[in-house]
């Protein structure tokens, strides 16, 4: 039986048994990764996966399942278990249904690349070129991954939605080292292999690494900070989590009760765009089958909406933003609108500040208030009178995410496409200058 027949089989059986809403999805993925460190390939990795996902609502009782198996017998087992499970489940009084309508879908522009499909072992050549480029640029060591995947998804719902999509993804991450305490990291992604310049990323990582040799201990206090796209994307990724209506309800959002209010400087406009050309998280439809769309989340600093699925939208008296997540709406691609400044012009606005090229281990003290800290890693530099100077180490940003966004003083004009180990949501953002960022550090 093919995936479509199995999906139909599951859907019909559940509807017969009294289910009100059903979504059946089948996703297939083939992916590969080359992992390298110390300029050598540590491992080649290959994955083949098929998943059957079922969402069922019966008298407002919600049951979800995901099984990594696709056969008629496995599907029958799932149906039986779902029906048994739902009997003793408790109703979700707030549940308000799934997407309804006959939709037409648009293909994602630059979302599928035959070259990625037939890439095979050539991935190794890309890695070799990138390592060589970093070494030529002056790095001593490199580490990273190069990942490529081909995915297909088909969706069938009890509201008559039948849809399918396919996509390719390519992701490259490289960290270059010149010394134990001198490093630089860059990441990039693309749906089309020819639009991902791994050598450029390698070169940029190596340049940061070279510049960051012999760091001194940083000082604590308030500093104006120029964030590279990579660390700013980390912060925006966390903000994206707070934008989900589920987070708002669960106490995980500093944006609760903030619709229509100023949550960032007027220089900041953030868009969630599930249709973005060559967007890493772009797709034709969301997990309910609603066609993805472009949502203005923050318009000149004002919060316009949360991210919704059909059910959360009804609870908030609005329409879905096509960001299902069946339980929790999720951001797709987050875009920080570009400003007018070159990176050099951002530096020139700083008398005494810092240039931060990466952060990691972002943790919240309280998701409601947005108090958090994160640790700059890789190249961190003093900026003195508009010029990049002494590299530093050993500092921490201890801030409030809303304060930080309100203190944005200038936005760069060269957006980069970021995804990474800690940046799970693809973010497109330029470099950004933030005033008065609180820097802490352990005492000597």
């Amino acid at each position: 039986m093919d995936p479509e027949e199995i999906s139909n089989h599951v859907l019909n059986k559940l509807l017969k048994a009294g289910a009100d809403d059903v979504i059946v999805s089948v996703s297939k993925q083939e992916s590969s990764q080359i992992k390298f460190s110390n300029n050598l390939i540590n491992a080649t990795k290959t994955w083949e996966n098929i998943d059957l996902g079922v969402f069922m609502a019966l008298k407002k009782k919600i049951v979800l399942t995901n099984i990594k198996e696709l056969s008629l017998s496995a599907a029958d087992d799932v149906v039986n278990k779902l029906l048994k499970f739902v009997k003793s489940a408790s109703p979700n009084k707030e549940y308000a249904g799934i997407a309804n309508g006959s939709f037409s879908y648009k293909e994602v522009e630059e979302g599928y690349d035959k070259k990625i499909v037939s890439l095979g072992n050539n991935t190794i050549d890309y890695v070799e070129k990138a390592i060589n480029k970093a070494l030529e640029t002056g790095a001593k060591r490199t580490a990273g991954v190069f990942e490529n995947s081909v995915a297909n998804i088909s969706l069938l719902t009890s509201n008559g939605i039948k849809a399918s999509d396919k996509g390719t993804h390519s992701y490259f991450s490289i960290r270059a080292f010149n010394d134990k305490y001198a490093s630089g990291q860059k990441t990039g992604f693309s749906r089309m292999i020819d639009l991902l310049d791994v050598e450029k990323l390698a070169e940029e990582a190596a340049l940061i690494s070279k510049q960051s040799l012999n760091p001194e201990h940083g000082k604590f206090g308030k500093f104006d900070v120029v964030f590279e796209p990579l660390p700013f994307a980390n912060i925006i990724d966390n903000l994206g989590g707070a934008m989900s209506a589920f987070s708002v309800e669960a106490g995980l959002s500093c944006l609760k009760d903030m619709i229509g209010k100023q949550v960032a400087n007027e220089k900041i406009t953030i868009i969630d765009d599930g249709t973005l050309k060559n967007g890493f998280a772009s797709s034709k439809f969301d997990a309910e089958g609603a066609p993805t769309q472009r949502n203005i989340m923050i318009d000149k600093g004002i919060l316009k909406t949360y991210l919704h699925n059909t059910s959360t939208a009804k609870r908030f008296n609005t329409k879905t933003t096509a960001n299902a997540g069946l339980l929790s709406p999720e951001p797709t691609n987050l875009i920080v609108n570009k400003g007018n400044f070159s990176k050099q012009e951002l530096f020139e606005q700083v008398k005494n500040g810092l240039y931060i090229t990466n952060v990691w281990y972002t943790r919240f003290q309280n998701y409601n208030t947005g108090d958090f800290s994160t640790i700059p890693r890789d190249g961190i530099f003093m900026i003195k009178n508009g010029k990049i100077g002494q590299p530093i180490k050993g500092i921490r940003i201890s801030e409030n995410i809303l304060t930080l966004l309100k203190n944005v003083a200038a936005v760069g004009k060269m957006p980069e496409r970021v995804i990474g180990w800690e940046v799970e949501t693809p973010v497109v953002t330029p470099a950004v200058l933030v005033k008065d960022v609180s820097i802490t550090r352990p005492l000597d």
């Binding site: 290959t46 083949e48 198996e69 352990p442």
Partner: protein
């Protein structure tokens, strides 16, 4: 279980020219339940059946995984993996595995109350009971997120060295996120309980009491908490805080793959080098171990995912850097034997060097004795925000439930005391260790793609002398 498929895969890879092959079959069933602000958000169950393989050819490592339990598909996957390793060999890290004994064995963590015998209604009732108790406190708790999950995993590991290990480990996990509000201020705690074993542990935890204690402490802190003193003082850190400290700066930097640089682009490297073995990192009172053999622990295993017998590892012995966490590859590189620290979270992840249950060993004091000898200090019972840099030196722990200590006695609550300290400073400041042991559960992140693996971290209460709190 498709054991014959794993056996076949190992042999087939050898036939196709592999020098070493290993197959790991996983079968997992799991259930989860979410209660959000008193509403049963959803319940669910998942099932995993899959095969992961490691193949070494020409000293090049290839990993492959599939959940198509089909011989022909597996043959093709193996052939592709061999082809890729051949091409990668021009640029490969030379992979050699340490010589180890091969074991044929099976083990199972017994359940007193089998997870499959407890219906979904009974499982979610535990959360409803907790919700009821929370409401009964009359404390303002604007968000209450509770989830309970359980799983049973059976793994079959076989390799071309003759290893055959069949293991069945059930696990239970309770997670909560609670926000308490008082006078327009909020405070939030996220914590988790986890063990290997059956439903008896969920009952034993007494979830309603856990959450009620939590919100009472949060409210007390919001209502009566004062700012901590600015001058140098002593800290008595309770087991939850010691557990996270030890995990972050007493466990992670001892992972041999980080020391070698293999995780450089992801979880990072380590300030510790091979040359630092035998040198002092802390006071004599500090002993840190990693032990997968703790019964019913969240990080329990008897054999690691390379088939190496698990044992206790003394990472820090009386303040001296004593041993690293090793898998067969890092062990060979360092000219020693593996100490059984290779783990993978699921069949579709490569096994890498991981912690299991990492904790500080107890000392001889009571917690009261530690507090009794403090003139001015902070008792930090638990924490909220924390983090550490990627070389594991610069770390921060923000106290949640915390109290002032004055002249040897615990006084009122203090708000958000911040320990921001380097690793050598932290372990050198420990002057006394109590004997009250606790273990706590977490999911430790490492690897790319991410592998959030179940671990315990813990310890007794400890006293840190002469600390300046952070801002």
């Amino acid at each position: 279980m498709f054991k014959d498929l794993a056996d076949f895969a190992v042999k087939y890879a050898l036939k196709k020219g592999a020098d070493y092959s290993e197959a790991r079959l996983e079968s997992t069933t799991s259930n989860s339940f979410i209660l959000k602000n008193g509403i049963a958000e959803a319940s669910g169950f998942d099932k995993i059946n899959g095969l992961g393989m490691r193949i070494i050819k020409n000293k090049t490592l290839g990993f492959a995984s599939t959940n198509y339990m089909d011989k022909e598909k597996i043959k093709k996957l193996i052939q592709n993996t061999i082809n890729t390793t051949e091409k990668a060999s021009k640029l490969r890290e030379e992979i050699n595995l340490s010589e180890e004994n091969s074991y044929k064995n099976k083990y199972e963590v017994k359940q007193k109350i089998n997870l499959n015998d407890v219906g979904p209604d009974e499982k979610i009732k535990i959360l409803f009971d907790a919700e009821k108790e929370l409401i009964n406190t009359k404390i303002n708790i604007p968000s209450r997120y509770l989830s309970l999950s359980d799983s049973i995993t059976t793994e079959y590991l076989t390799n071309s060295d003759g290893t055959n290990i069949l293991a069945t480990v059930p696990k239970v996990t309770f997670f909560y996120l609670l926000t308490v509000e008082h006078d327009g201020k909020t405070s939030q705690r996220i914590w988790q309980y986890g063990q290997s074993g059956g439903f008896e542990f969920v009952k034993k935890w007494d979830i309603p009491s856990i959450v009620v204690n939590e919100v009472e402490a949060l409210q007390n802190n919001l209502k009566f908490g004062i700012k901590p003193p600015k001058q140098t003082l002593d800290i008595v850190a309770a087991p939850q805080v010691v557990g996270i400290m030890v995990h972050e700066s007493g466990g992670h930097p001892y992972e041999a793959d980080r020391i070698i640089g293999r995780e450089g682009a992801q979880a990072g490297e380590s300030f510790i080098t091979k040359e630092m073995l035998g040198t002092r990192i802390g006071s004599k009172a500090v002993n840190v171990v990693d032990d997968p053999l703790l019964e019913n622990s969240y990080g329990f295993y008897k054999y690691d995912n390379e088939g190496v017998k698990a044992r206790r590892k003394y990472l820090i012995k009386e303040g001296i850097i004593n041993e690293f966490l090793q898998n067969r590859k890092t062990a060979y590189y360092m000219g020693i034997k593996s100490n059984g620290s290779s783990r993978s979270v699921n069949y579709d992840r490569e096994s890498i060097v991981r912690m299991s249950n990492t904790f500080m060993l107890p000392g001889n004091h009571t917690e009261e004795e530690l507090i009794g000898d403090v003139k001015l200090g902070i008792y930090m019972k638990n924490f909220m925000e924390w983090n550490i840099d990627d070389k594991r030196i610069n770390q921060k722990y923000v106290g949640a439930e915390s109290y002032l200590i004055k002249n040897g006695e615990i006084k009122g609550p203090v708000t958000k005391p911040i320990i921001e300290i380097t690793t050598p400073q932290l372990y050198s400041a420990v002057d006394a260790v109590a004997k009250n042991m606790e273990y706590h559960a977490g999911n430790c992140g490492k690897g790319e793609p991410m592998q959030a693996i179940p671990v315990w971290f813990g310890g007794p209460s400890i006293r840190l002398r002469k600390i300046r709190l952070g801002n």
